[in-house]
């Protein structure tokens, strides 16, 4: 069990650092999604499937989708210079 958990924790730490280090908004949204996948894998490994479900539905799908769709609208809204 521990052998499985250690790489999971490292993965969460690495993807979490990715969220902080990504500076471009669209990359940030995708980094949040990747971090959500890593977190939900960790939750499954810790035998908390309900929390993993919430994390993947909200953290990986809904929030990045919300960010991305709004960012796309904002981007194309800007007049071309």
């Amino acid at each position: 069990m521990i052998a499985l958990l250690v790489p999971m924790f490292l993965l969460v730490a690495a993807t979490g650092a990715g969220v902080v280090l990504a500076r471009e908004p669209r990359r940030q949204a995708l980094a949040i999604a990747v971090n959500g996948v890593a977190l939900s894998l960790l939750f499954v490994a810790l035998r908390a499937p309900d929390v993993a479900y919430s994390e993947i539905a909200v953290g990986t799908a809904l929030v990045p989708l919300m960010f991305l769709s709004v960012l796309v609208s904002l981007k194309t809204d800007r007049p071309k210079s």
Partner: protein, 253 residues
């Protein structure tokens, strides 16, 4: 403040907190061991007491249903507040009409994207409904299923057009759905009192363990949460996207 000053300040703060952090980590129970009896008690007794196999749903919608009631009302209040804030500027009369994007050309959808969205939209919504309906049996429930359905509706926007998405995802319908979810939850609390039971007491027949319909009030409350969460997330998506478009009357940004 220069970068150097900030780093020095951060290091000083870290040094000051360090002893407390070390002390707390030293006193923590070993990984995977906890001194709390509650979870084990739930695992032992829930199947016999409530005829459900998902303990998380039993806790959320029955044993600690009072917390869920508060949480859902908080969610409804937060969504309502956001809607009032965002709709306030556009005005209520425009809320069921798609906003215009001014001079912006319409994005052409490639056929592959449209096909993929048409294929996956029904699958995702069906999966969301499945997750909601099996809250009492397997992991998942109203909240997770609601979030899945809400994000699934975005595929209509991605694959078809903003206008079609806004026509199908009608604000008024989801306003009512949101309110219905909250009302169902409150009635779950008040209903049992008509029979002389306590607020939120599970007075409905429990059914057979493992059947799709089991757990009594857990099912009703789960349905209420599913309604409130689905509508809440969809309304947030609508309002956020609407905010990025100029309205027909030239207002907005």
């Amino acid at each position: 403040m220069t970068r150097r000053m900030r780093l020095v300040l951060a290091a000083l703060c870290a040094l000051m907190i360090a002893p407390a952090v070390v002390a707390v980590i030293g006193r923590m129970p070993a990984f995977g061991h906890h001194p709390l009896p509650y979870g084990d008690a739930i695992n032992r007794t829930t199947v016999a007491q409530r005829h459900v196999t998902n303990m998380v749903s039993a806790v959320n919608f029955d044993y600690r249903a009072f917390d869920t009631l508060g949480e859902e009302l908080m969610l409804v209040a937060a969504v309502t507040g956001t809607l009032v804030l965002l709709r306030g500027r556009r005005g209520e009369s425009l809320s069921d009409r798609a906003a215009q994007a001014g001079e912006r050309p319409v994005c052409e959808r490639s056929e592959a994207v449209t096909l993929a969205c048409r294929l996956f939209f029904p699958i995702i919504v069906t999966f969301g409904i499945y997750v909601i309906m099996h809250a009492q049996l397997t992991p998942g429930g109203g909240f997770q299923g609601g979030a899945i359905i809400a994000s699934g509706t975005l595929l209509l926007y991605l694959g078809e057009s903003y206008r079609l998405w806004r026509r199908l995802v009608h604000s008024l319908l989801f306003d009512m759905m949101e309110a219905t979810g909250a009302i169902v939850l409150v009635l779950c609390g008040l209903g049992p009192m008509l029979r002389g039971a306590a607020f939120l007491e599970n007075v409905l027949p429990l059914g057979q363990t493992g059947a799709l319909i089991c757990g009594g009030i857990i099912l009703v409350e789960n349905a209420g949460v599913a309604l409130a969460v689905t509508a809440g997330f969809i309304l947030l998506l609508v309002e956020f996207l609407e905010e990025t478009r100029a309205t027909r009357d030239g207002g907005g940004s």
